[in-house]
């Protein structure tokens, strides 16, 4: 809501630290079988955040699309409204792609790690 960057700091929720803690539990008494997997862990919040963000990006794209149609059929009074909505939609998409690229980058960084 306040800052677009907070979504990126949300990426830390994906980090492998929690999974490593799950390994600790496995090496113990074996009471808990596997920290990762089907259980909604600490990443559920991040998933919600991501889907909410994608929905708002979709909404701004739809708004820009509708305004473009109104420009075409001449019902829009203020062309600046369309250009601003298009700007906002394009910024949202750029932000989405930037977050996705960072996430992929983090994943590849982890995959490159050697024991």
């Amino acid at each position: 809501m306040t800052s677009p960057i907070s979504a990126i700091s949300g990426l830390s929720g994906v980090g492998g630290i929690d999974a490593l803690q799950g390994v600790d539990a496995l090496s113990g008494t074996g009471a808990s079988t596997g920290g990762a997997g089907a259980t909604p862990g600490p990443n559920a919040d991040f998933g919600n955040l991501l889907s909410k963000g994608l929905e708002s990006v979709q909404a701004s794209q739809n708004k820009a699309d509708n305004l473009a149609v109104q420009v075409a059929d001449g019902t829009l009074k203020d062309p600046a409204q369309y250009t601003m909505a298009a700007n906002e939609a394009s910024l949202g998409l750029q932000l989405t792609v930037a977050v996705r690229n960072k996430a992929v980058e983090a994943f590849q960084e982890i995959m490159r790690m050697q024991a």
Binding site: I5, Q81, M84, L91, A98
Partner: protein
């Protein structure tokens, strides 16, 4: 309106100043209207700007109307003149309307400049670390 708030706020300003420009153009278009003394003169339109209801930017609260009396002008040649030779003309000052138009135009441009700078800033933030 949420993630890129500055664009939405400046956009509301753009809308307000566009309406002011509309009002000024309406006033100038009707500035030479003549009406009978038994009727109202054309009333100047004044846009009432105020803070937006949700606190994000500005909005037009309504339209205020100018003097309906207008100015009584002696013009016996005019087909609309009454028995004493008077007609009503709108009480609008062209010079005042022109300066209002300049203010509205510059403020419209200022708000669009804010949109532009906000977009540049957000783009810089998105490209951070690339």
């Amino acid at each position: 309106m949420s993630t890129f708030n500055a664009i939405g706020v400046a956009g509301s300003g753009v809308t307000v100043y566009r309406k002011w420009l509309d009002a000024v153009s309406d006033n100038i278009a009707n500035i030479d209207n003549v009406s009978r003394t038994s009727e109202k003169a054309f009333q100047a339109r004044y846009v009432v700007a105020q803070e937006a209801a949700d606190g994000n930017g500005a909005q037009v609260g309504g339209v205020a109307f100018g003097n309906a009396q207008g100015i009584l002008t002696y013009d016996p040649q005019n087909p609309l003149a009454d028995s004493k030779g008077y007609v009503r003309r709108p009480d609008i000052d062209l010079g005042g309307q022109m300066s209002q138009m300049m203010m509205a135009q510059r403020a419209y441009q200022a708000n669009l400049a804010v949109v532009d700078r906000a977009k540049d800033s957000y783009t810089a933030a998105i490209n951070l670390g690339k």
